[in-house]
Symmetry: C2
Subunit: 225 residues, 2 copies
């Protein structure tokens, strides 16, 4: 029996990363979910991440790590600033939900873990269509990170690949929702809202983008059922 | 009065990073030392890092963060494996003191912190001459990381630079020791040995490289006085 290739999946517990789990599962990767707590103001999405890992039968190897929140300043996701709720914005203005260097730091945790376990893939839910204009969600960023991986590790410099996959990069939120539903990803367990609370706020960028996605495919959001 | 440019300095507490502090201090950067604990088997070097920050009068802004050591496997610096002591090795074989993806992860902490405080520099003591063959100490790695920085942040994509400086890259250990002494870096406070204990072991790669440096310039190591 051929061993499945190992994949570290960055799992936030939202719609996108859960769909990435479903895609990696369909590709028959051996899933190693990694969740990074970086001082988000709420922990609701961490609970979602745990539930998604459980759904895929890999809760026992789901690693949840914490990053010191003193590294991050000026973001409404980590500090007591107003989360924008006035609709998805001018694409030239990066909103205050941007967390400095966050995705680089998430991926760098994934990189160490991936090399430690001999993984062939890091899977990451970046998306550059229906998104908030973050620089670290664009294809140029993914290319630059792949280039870094190729230079940075014993594994890659010895000629063994470690590929950064961002399968949602060129999908609209509607396409992501449709993909998640069609792969039977446990979207009912996910949480996308930037705020905490019992139910999603419905007005932050993340809620609006998610609702727009389901609207466009004429389906209801399983998490709101 | 012109404000000094801010610099995040990765400070391990060893000879190299302390010399980098001295160089950044000489350049009149405003120093923000950052120390990352990544499950090293000993904490001796953390104490050195604190003493060095104190020496430069920036102890109050010295941030010490911890990375979850479950991310790292297979290194003698984080697990109970034998640290090599048989001399600096075949340059084609990376020794077991390599920590998977470590420098990428250290720099990624520095990147978030640098962007958070609006720093213009990240200073890093990588060295590719008298070193242990680690892929993430080479100029190609630094170039790839700089390229990533340029793509990754709000600061850089808005046209404000954030430069990764590795001033020791092309220096021999002798040149680094001489530079540290000439800039009056507090080398007496530093710790380079891969092992813990009261005094440096004298036989690990790091001790051997350090001793060789001071030998070549005919000086005694202030930390051994």
């Amino acid at each position: 029996m051929v061993e499945k290739p190992k994949a570290v999946v960055l799992l936030s517990g939202g719609l996108d990363s859960t769909t990435v789990m479903a895609i990696a599962h369909k590709k028959e990767y051996d899933l190693y979910p990694l969740t990074v707590i970086y001082g988000q103001r709420h922990q609701r999405e961490i609970e979602s991440a745990k539930a998604v890992a459980e759904h895929y039968g890999v809760a026992d190897r789901h690693i949840i790590v914490e990053v010191d929140s003193r590294l991050f300043k000026g973001s409404s996701l980590t500090e007591n600033l107003e989360v924008p709720s006035d609709g998805v914005m001018d694409p030239n203005i990066i909103p205050n939900t941007y967390v400095p260097g966050r995705n680089t730091l998430l991926l760098s945790h994934a990189l160490s873990y991936a090399e430690s376990i001999g993984a062939s893939f890091i899977c990451y839910g970046a998306n550059a269509l229906d998104y908030s204009g973050y620089p670290d969600c664009r294809p140029q960023f993914v290319d630059a990170y792949q280039n870094l991986i190729n230079m940075a590790t014993k594994q890659t410099t010895a000629g063994n690949y470690l590929k950064l996959e961002a399968p949602l990069m060129h999908m609209t939120k509607a396409e992501i929702s449709a993909e998640g539903l069609s792969l039977e990803a446990p979207l009912n367990l996910t949480w996308s809202c930037y705020k905490g609370g019992e139910t999603p706020c419905g007005v932050c960028d993340s809620c609006r983008l998610r609702a727009k996605g389901f609207d466009e495919i004429g389906k209801s959001d399983p998490a709101l059922a």
